[in-house]
């Protein structure tokens, strides 16, 4: 298949997906599938966003929770101050997340490997501490939120959030796919394989990393924004929970980071397993399964699920020594 028909197939798939999601919200009456599905969609979007910096560029970001939490609290603060509608909350969260990504990038992207990772954990904790001491949004105790009336054509708020999150997934996947096939994607891959060599051959490494960090951050914060309305409640220790970081990272690495489909597969697989385990056994066990799967895949299947399915990706991304 050539590039153009690839594109047509991709956008046709996206259209089918959105139509399916929309008609599902109109047909299915029971709210539970949307309640559970929302979480899975949220993790798909987070994992895809994580992959833009963590997979394409190879910078392991432990700070997914920082961006997610900032998204949650941007929405909360905006809603409390002005009662802004959901779309505005999400857009504002994306802008704040992008600015945060810019700041994080400037401060930390000169660091290599583990130092970058530790620095991102540090940022998450520092931001969480500030939010805990911010009285306006409830401080450490958290804040209750009253959902505004739902808009047509939806008959319940959860269904609307489900659709909104599906749109965010489409945006995240679209951006990831665009980056992967563009000059930028090749630049990121080059700096991931050998940063010094990339810099020497004229790849603007710092600029590319910075842009990747901003896009990734904007997406993560946008994904976080509807979470406050989903739970009708927000508190710092759950908005900035480290589980978001380990989930995004694990889903992305388990799926495979060489292609945008990797994190999507990883998130669907792990997200639905988690939903199942959380309901049937306990939420502790589901974190345990996440950890064990992460370690098993990192040790045994370095290129993730897509590496197992298609050996081509194993060759493409395995050039580093």
């Amino acid at each position: 298949m050539n590039k153009r028909s690839h594109s047509i197939a991709f956008w046709a798939g996206i259209a089918v997906f959105l139509v399916a999601v929309l008609s599902m919200t109109q047909i299915v009456r029971n709210e539970y599938p949307f309640f559970a599905g929302y979480v899975i969609l949220q993790f798909i979007a987070l994992a895809v966003a994580w992959t833009i910096l963590g997979g394409y560029a190879g910078y392991v970001n432990f700070g997914t929770n920082a961006f997610f939490g900032v998204g949650v609290y941007t929405a909360v603060a905006l809603f409390k101050a002005t009662g802004a509608p959901l779309v505005v909350q999400i857009a504002a969260a994306a802008v704040v997340g992008m600015l945060l990504g810019f700041g994080v990038g400037l401060l930390t992207l000169r660091m290599r490997g583990i130092f970058f990772s530790i620095a991102t954990i540090a940022l998450a904790i520092i931001i969480e501490t500030f939010v805990m001491n911010w009285r306006f949004v409830g401080g450490a105790a958290g804040i209750q939120l009253q959902r505004p009336p739902v808009m047509a054509p939806f008959d319940s708020y959860v269904k609307m959030l489900f659709f909104v999150q599906a749109v965010l997934v489409v945006i995240a996947v679209g951006i990831a796919r665009y980056i992967q096939n563009s000059r930028m994607g090749r630049g990121l891959q080059a700096l991931r394989d050998d940063e010094l060599a990339a810099e020497c051959t004229g790849v603007p490494t710092l600029k590319l990393k910075l842009v990747a960090c901003m896009i990734s951050g904007a997406l993560m914060s946008a994904v976080g924004a509807p979470a406050a309305m989903y739970l009708q409640y927000a508190d710092p220790s759950s908005a900035f929970n480290l589980t978001y970081s380990v989930s995004a990272l694990a889903m992305s690495l388990i799926g495979g980071t060489a292609h945008w489909i990797g994190p999507v597969l990883g998130a669907i697989l792990l997200g639905s397993t988690q939903q199942f385990l959380a309901v049937t056994i306990s939420s502790e066990v589901n974190v345990l399964v996440l950890g064990i799967m992460l370690v098993l895949f990192v040790v045994g299947a370095p290129k993730g699920i897509i590496g197992l399915l298609r050996p081509r990706y194993r060759l493409r991304a395995g050039g580093k020594q």
Partner: protein, 288 residues
Amino acid sequence: MDLLLGAVVLGVLLGCFYAAVSVGLSVSFGLLDVPHVAHPAFLVLASYGVYQLNDSYDLDPLLAGLAITPLLFLFGLLAYRVYYETFEKRGSDAGVRGIAFFFGIAFIIEVLIILQFGVDQRSVTATYIGKSWRFGEFRIPIRQLVAFAVALALTVVLAVYLSKTFMGRAIRAVAQDEEALRLMGANPVRIKQFAFGIATAVLGIAGALLIIVAPVEPTLDRAYIGRTFCVVVMAGLGSISGTLIAAIILGVAESIVLTMFGASWAPAISFAMLLAVLAVRPQGLLGR
């Protein structure tokens, strides 16, 4: 003024304790370059081991820490072997996956502790816990003094071990130039494995101190990611004497902020200092 002086004194005591929980990381991350994000999780695990022995057999926490040291040593040998075989030996892409590997291990340990002991705080009993000495205006809990003395001794012993004994020098040699060591007929992997074992073994005592100083909970390791990495990076990678200095700086800073601004700001101090050090002076105070 007295308040500030008290904060500084407590900070120095706290700092020496931080040195004790960080020296292991100073060896494994500082000298061996292993991205050991699971170090604080190992530490908390050791604390729960101490708790178990103290709870079941009424063993003194420090003796309990000593008792689990050989086990931890073996655990360290095993952990390094797995890390070496899967990442270092293959060389490719070790950075990303190595970090993710240890991150996953840390999470697994956290959840296993929750499943075994629950999420409640746990503490140990000993004759010196709960009492305090009075010096005029302020009081110093004896548990802090015990932790201070043992921590100082542990750090000094490890520093002497690394600089005076044959094996200690071999460990520092492998950190400086692995290839040269290989050319001299030594096996660098075996030395590194042994060093990682030592780095994990000292967590026996360090874990005992952790639970002596304050009750522990399963997710305590998250706060200690900041503290231990802050100390090790600020010290300058692999510098044991620097570890002591950096830990005291951190301890005093935390103690002063705690006294002046309240406990809700304390968790961010170590992370903020870590970021500042990484941004301004990544080679640390006594960097090599």
